[in-house]
């Protein structure tokens, strides 16, 4: 279980997170939703140890993650697929995927996991040799998730995987997230596509101006007056 406990995070003097707490239990899909600037990306970056909280703790079971390096967090199996894909644009798709399995433990599993990625994303198989920067937006998102899977994640954190995709691709993306979860990967899903995310998720948290303002099961949140008004425009 991943437990984020009362973390405070600031960029210089500007505080972005104010006592954020949530947990992701093994096997779950947990959605973290909120408007632009709510602090979703900041939260994921802090879990990945790219940012340090000034207070609070992040725990993976009994293991503290908030004093680790980003490398250690990856080695513990907490993998982030960052906002905007962040592929290595001048390398081939295949090289990008191989880099996803860079850690020593992951290297031994690479060929097996490559197969696994191509099973989930058959469209990527023929594009292995293509330079990542020339892939379409949808292909890039698949590649980014595939690269995350190459690490053999215990917990996969996806930052707005549906961003900038055509409606049909958005649906496909959510289907894939469910499939990955069914294959045994715990998921922390950051989304602005509130409706789809909450429909998919077992539980969700609503982040507003750096604070968790609501939490509950996906269904509860979808039925919540405030969520319907503020995020679903109903």
């Amino acid at each position: 279980m991943l437990r984020v406990d009362n973390i405070e995070v600031a960029y210089g003097k500007i505080q972005a997170l104010w006592g954020v707490s949530f947990e992701v239990r093994d096997g779950e899909i947990v959605a973290l939703v909120g408007a632009n600037g709510a602090g979703k990306t900041t939260t994921l970056k802090t879990v990945s140890a790219l940012l340090r909280p000034s207070a609070g703790a992040i725990l993976l079971d009994e293991q503290r993650l908030d004093c680790c390096t980003p490398v250690k967090v990856v080695e513990f199996g907490v993998i982030q697929v960052p906002e905007g894909r962040k592929l290595f644009p001048h390398m081939t798709l295949r090289e990008n995927l191989l880099l996803g399995g860079y850690t020593r433990a992951a290297r031994a599993e690479r060929s097996k996991r490559l197969e696994h990625v191509f099973e989930i994303f058959p469209a990527l198989r023929e594009r292995q040799g293509q330079i990542a920067g020339t892939l379409s937006g949808g292909e890039q998102q698949m590649a980014a998730i595939g690269r995350g899977l190459m690490a053999g994640p215990r917990i996969l954190m996806l930052d707005e995987p549906s961003l900038g995709l055509a409606p049909i691709m958005v649906e496909e993306m959510f289907r894939v997230v469910r499939e990955i979860n069914q294959r045994g990967v715990t998921i922390l899903l950051v989304e602005q596509n509130t409706e789809n995310a909450l429909e998919l998720a077992h539980r969700g948290y609503v982040l507003e101006s750096g604070r968790v303002v609501l939490e509950g099961t996906g269904k509860e949140l979808l039925a919540n007056e405030k969520v319907r008004e503020a995020y679903l425009g109903l």
């Binding site: 490398v71 990856v74 993998i79 982030q80 290595f88 644009p89 001048h90 390398m91 880099l99 860079y102």
Partner: protein, 292 residues
């Protein structure tokens, strides 16, 4: 072959041979820039130190200067890693202007210590087997330059294989393309930066070792070399390795043609005029903005 034709081919060959060594120096500067966003103004001094290392190996211990590369290149790789760890890393958060000024200071310091230790005398190293040039197809090819070219090509090819085929090499490229994403892959970005600084330093020193039988050697030779480096990376586009190779060879050829068709005295000036023209009309470099 007509005399004019012969002169043309002769200066082209000279240019490519010298250019291969410029390319190596430029690649060193460019890999460091790619990963760390540092323009290392002390890069020319690394070449100078490589030259002196090979020179002393030969004059003091009678070790062939080319052979001495086997010892010096790994040593400079280590020295580069240590320099990064203990001298460069701490000032990295200061931003690009700070690192630029800092490496300029290092450059002055190294050159002046060398001046103090070895005086400002011009030295040359004459290898016994290098007196008579080779004459393939009626073109005169100086032996030391031919050997240097062969070794430079070998080293550059090895670097290419390292970057293209090994995990660490891929990590170097990943870090230069997106350091934050690289960290999310579990790449230790600090370690990669250290290795890259070591690599860049080793390339510069290797070029120095290879150049010493072909160039005058004096403690401030790095000044002119680092300026050439700028010309090379601007020609090729800063951060691009193929660009640096092409830029280096192009500069070698331009200088060589300049020396033959204009005047030896203007050899360097012609290179700099090219540099200004490229900056004015194609600031992204002759070969586009590609970074790899």
């Amino acid at each position: 072959m007509t005399a004019a034709m012969e002169t043309l081919i002769q200066s082209l060959v000279n240019g490519v041979l010298t250019g291969s060594l410029y390319a190596m120096i430029g690649v060193g500067l460019t890999v460091i820039f790619g990963v760390m966003r540092i323009i290392n103004l002390a890069h020319g001094e690394m070449v100078m130190l490589g030259m002196f290392s090979a020179y002393w190996s030969y004059t003091l211990w009678k070790i062939d200067s080319f052979l001495s590369a086997i010892v010096w290149v790994p040593l400079f790789f280590l020295a580069g890693m240590l320099a990064y760890r203990y001298l460069v890393r701490a000032i990295m958060p200061g931003g690009e202007l700070n690192t630029l000024l800092y490496t300029a200071g290092m450059s002055l310091l190294i050159a002046n210590v060398a001046l103090f230790a070895w005086t400002g005398d011009y030295r040359t190293l004459n290898l016994p087997y290098a007196v008579e040039p080779l004459h393939p197809f009626g073109i005169a090819v100086p032996v030391p330059l031919a050997i240097a070219f062969g070794l430079a090509a070998l080293i550059t090819a090895a670097l290419y294989v390292f970057l293209a085929r090994t995990d660490t090499g891929r990590a170097v490229r990943a870090t230069s393309q997106n350091p934050e994403a690289a960290a999310l892959m579990g790449i230790n970005v600090e370690r990669i930066a250290m290795i890259t600084f070591g690599l860049g330093t080793a390339l510069a020193a290797a070029a120095g070792v290879l150049l010493v039988p072909s160039l005058y050697l004096y403690p401030t030779v790095g000044e002119i070399l680092v300026v050439k480096c700028f010309v090379i990376v601007v020609l090729g586009g800063l951060g691009s390795i193929p660009g640096a190779i092409a830029g280096g060879i192009l500069l070698g050829v331009i200088e060589s043609f300049g020396a033959v068709y204009v005047s030896v005295a203007y050899k360097d000036t012609i290179g700099f005029i090219m540099f200004l023209l490229v900056l004015l009309f194609r600031p992204q470099g002759l070969f586009g903005a590609a970074r790899s």
